[in-house]
């Protein structure tokens, strides 16, 4: 009986198809991605059944952490520069071009304006720890947050306001922020929430 000849085949698989698929996926992810913006503090946002999506651009975000510290940020770099420049002017503090550029790279700032010089002089890695400890003063005696908000509105009138607060934030702080906003006639804003999984309609 003759032996059955087993044809010897190359073990290499053709990678072209796989390569095609992976690059297709890569392209998809590159085009649809918007990067997670770095935030100085981590907040656990509350959930709701609301399904309205947040608009893409012209967003000013107010971040409130659970100790009641307030952070503020606008979304484009150009706006950030102008806002800082104008807020500085309101407190008669001037910033150099370098400082303005440096500031425009920070998505959320929470530093009292008088400490901004020192803060911007820090290395980016060193900022996180320090920033987490501060926050923009938003009490009635020294309401810098109001100035920030007002300035941002002047710089970009189309701005929409979003409040992102931690679940455990005491209502007192939120009320303080809302009252401030009411003072300067900001009467429409969005509360950022995550989608709640619920069985009811």
């Amino acid at each position: 009986m003759p032996k059955v000849k087993v044809p010897r085949k190359s073990t290499a698989v053709d990678m072209t198809a796989m390569c095609d698929v992976s690059f297709l996926l890569l392209t998809f992810f590159m085009l649809t991605s918007n990067f997670v913006a770095k935030e100085p503090i981590v907040v656990a946002i509350p959930s709701s059944v609301s399904e309205i999506k947040i608009p893409e651009r012209d967003i000013a975000t107010v971040l409130i952490d659970k100790d009641g510290k307030v952070f503020f940020g606008v979304d484009t770099q150009q706006d950030r520069k102008e806002v800082l420049d104008n807020v500085g002017k309101a407190y008669s503090i001037s910033f150099t071009d370098k400082e303005l550029t440096e500031f425009s790279k920070i998505s959320m700032s929470g530093v009292p304006i008088e400490k901004m010089h020192a803060f911007l002089a820090l290395k980016p890695e060193a900022r996180d720890s320090k920033e987490a400890a501060l926050g923009i003063p938003a009490d009635s005696l020294n309401n810098q947050f109001k100035v920030w908000m007002k300035t941002a509105r002047k710089v970009n009138p189309k701005l929409r306001l979003a409040i992102k607060a931690d679940q455990q934030t005491p209502y007192k702080v939120v009320k303080g922020v809302m009252t401030t906003l009411q003072d300067i006639n900001e009467n429409r804003y969005n509360l950022i929430t995550s989608l709640k999984q619920t069985s009811s309609k």
């Binding site: 209502y171 804003y189 969005n190």
Partner: protein
Amino acid sequence: MAEMQVEDKGKKGKKPKQKKHATRVDLTPMVDLAFLLITFFMLTTSMLKPQTMEISVPSKDKVEEEDQNKVKASQAITVLLAKENKLYYYFGTQENGVDPELIETDYSSEGLRKMLVTKNYDVMKQVEELKKDKKKMTEEEYSKKLSDYRSSKSAPIIMIKAADEANYENLVDVLDEMNICNIARYAIVDITPYDLGLIDKKSPPAK
């Protein structure tokens, strides 16, 4: 992991032929790289955009105006958000020196929502029916009718009063219930000493 070179092995004794190079390039490293990048993009992107709740509050000058036309007591429901996730509500207001009965409830669907659904039954039914007929009408008509129903005169008016010790989650939860129960007429109002007194009476602070 180079491509195996398949050569002719037959025809011995002939002149050694020039090696035939395969024209195929090994794509494995390229695939590796592509998947590495895919992983990177998948991890750094936020596909889900966060949801938002839109709220609008009356401006300062309007508040004073509103004080003048007080909410009709029969329609008013006051929801009190207290510390430690406690929730109370009462109907109407103080009449002839008699305090309204303060009822304790919770944030579950059996608590506040049940009460609101009963109170707002007519509106919810209308909205339900409207949703069934949604396909028959245009988007504009639908939203107009929806807002008409929701702000109908008979619907209850909710006043949300949060104590300073309540947290933000409580507020969002209550606002959420308003959305679920199709209540358009609600307001976030500052808590008064009177309300705080009612809560203290209901559950006296531990000594």
